[in-house]
């Protein structure tokens, strides 16, 4: 049985009205920003299904933008984010879609700041979120753990090399999720850990042969 704690029940302290459509939207925005590594200059939000249909009444658009700008779920600026100083330097637009292959409460972030990145995430209930794809790679990021994400060539030994670097620091791996385009082609690995990684581990992974991209994604605050 999956253990929960009291503060999964009494939480978050948040801007209303909906944990999935408002707080969840902020958290998706925050997680997407953490994955991208910086606040983008330009972002397109593609809202799907219930997010598209009832988002306006729930402040979903405001939440998504606030998250991308790094605001916390209980920041009172969310309510008037479109007019707030904090959103003056970002270009954004919202698009609305119906796609029943996608989760009822889901969104694509298309970030641009020189480089483009497409991040798809879902608001799965009670403010909990899950990022499912990054640039087409299947991932599973919930923002609950510090996560090392790696894109690499699908050859034998890559997973054990990376996990050995983490083990050497006596850090426990909470979950590990891998995916690949096809055998021998680009693959992705998401390693959720208990605790925090030092920069030297991340640098060592970056220096590994056949590693194309490394991102250390900090967990979201509760």
């Amino acid at each position: 049985m999956k253990q929960t704690c009291i503060f999964d029940i009494i939480s978050p302290i948040m801007i209303g009205p909906s944990s999935s459509h408002t707080a969840g939207a902020v958290r998706l925005g925050l997680l997407a920003k953490n994955i991208y590594g910086e606040i983008p200059k330009k972002v397109t939000f593609k809202l799907y299904n219930s997010y598209a249909q009832t988002g306006k009444g729930h402040g979903t658009e405001k939440g998504l933008l606030a998250g991308v700008l790094g605001l916390a779920v209980d920041d009172r600026r969310i309510k008037n984010i479109f007019d707030d100083e904090v959103s003056k330097n970002i270009k954004y637009k919202f698009e609305y879609y119906e796609d029943f292959k996608k989760h009822p409460n889901s969104v694509d972030f298309v970030f641009e700041n020189g480089r483009t990145m497409d991040i798809y995430g879902e608001s799965v209930g009670a403010g909990e979120v899950c990022v499912r794809t990054i640039d087409g790679f299947s991932v599973k990021l919930t923002g609950k753990y510090n996560t090392l994400m790696i894109v690499y060539e699908d050859i034998p030994g890559m997973i054990s090399q990376v996990t050995a670097l983490i083990q050497a620091k006596n850090i426990n791996i909470a979950s590990l999720h891998c995916d690949r385009y096809a055998k021998g082609e680009e693959a992705s690995m998401c390693i959720c850990i208990d605790g925090d990684l030092d920069n030297d581990v991340i640098d060592a992974v970056k220096k590994m042969d056949k590693v194309y991209f490394v991102s250390y994604i900090k967990k979201l605050e509760e």
Binding site: F7, G16, S19, A23, Q53, T54, G57, K62, D74, R76
Partner: protein, 293 residues
């Protein structure tokens, strides 16, 4: 203290009795152990939530701003106005319970700051009961924290069997669970032993079984906002009965099982999809047309 593995109310009661502790004492020890934080950090976290709840009540009591849809937001002021002219039939504490619950849930839909408890749509129930009862009996903030931790533990154990989401189990799992949490919290606040706390939970839950989630226009407004004060009253009714020694004939864990089964038997049309019930009434459909066209 080894507290892992408490996932039913029976286990909770056994642990309380075996150690001569209250629910909140077991719960904060569990939380401390499970989240690897000291007990005083757990209590500090609960105190922060309590403060945010009080702030939401005060802000909500002083606002008449409508929600983005315009459907809700100015009803709490009507209650306050009437109570100022003519007191509530059932006394000052009853006035406070109703206005605090409504103030909080209205604050939620106008994008104010609230504490989801367990969800945003049900955020007014637990705070209104704990804070109104505490004010009536001049109960310290430390003891209010005890009550809030009790509420959290009740919600946690319910959620071990029933997902606290309207889309999964209907409003039973949101406002209903909140009523059970508030009932147990109030019983703790007024000195009820663990057995009475759990009876309050069972009595409250039995009276919310089958509660549908059929929000008009898919928004957390109608009937959610006004449901908060109604559920707070269910909570205090359960508390009064439990404190008098009234027992639920069906043990609380079995009531939770019934809640789970009821949730599964409920049509998806009545679980947050807005495809049935109030959401498909003539007026709801007209509102929907007006709001979304």
């Amino acid at each position: 203290m080894e507290t892992k593995g408490i996932n039913t109310f029976e286990q909770l009661l056994e642990t309380c009795n075996a150690r001569g502790k209250r629910v909140w004492q077991i719960a904060q020890a569990y939380e401390s152990e499970w989240c690897e934080v000291p007990v005083n950090k757990v209590r500090k976290c609960a105190m922060e939530s309590l403060k945010a709840m009080k702030e939401a009540i005060q802000t909500g009591l002083n606002s008449t701003e409508l929600s983005m849809s315009g459907m809700c937001g100015n009803d709490c002021s009507k209650l306050q106005k009437r109570f100022a002219e003519r007191p509530a039939l059932f006394g000052k504490t009853f006035e406070k319970i109703l206005t605090y619950a409504l103030a909080t849930s209205e604050e939620n839909i106008r994008m104010g700051k609230i504490v989801a408890c367990p969800t945003a749509g049900s955020c007014g129930i637990v705070p209104s009961v704990i804070i109104a009862v505490a004010e009536a009996f001049d109960i310290s903030e430390e003891r209010q924290v005890n009550a809030l931790i009790t509420a959290g533990e009740i919600g946690r154990i319910i959620s071990a069997k029933v997902s606290l989401a309207g889309a999964v189990a209907g409003c039973q799992a949101e406002c209903g669970a909140a009523a059970a949490m508030a009932a147990g919290a109030a019983t703790q606040l007024l000195g009820g032993p663990p057995k009475q706390v759990l009876n309050a939970v069972a009595l409250a839950l039995k009276n919310i079984l089958g509660l549908t989630c059929d929000p008009v226009c898919g928004l957390v407004e109608v009937p959610c906002v006004k449901r908060n004060p109604f559920m707070a009253v269910i909570a205090v009714t359960a508390c009064e009965l439990a404190l008098s020694g009234v027992e639920s004939k069906i043990p609380v864990d079995e009531v939770v099982d019934a809640m789970d089964q009821t949730g599964q038997l409920m049509s998806p049309a009545l679980k947050e999809s807005s495809l049935g019930g109030l959401a498909r009434t003539k007026t709801a459909l007209e509102l929907q047309k007006r709001l979304f066209s």
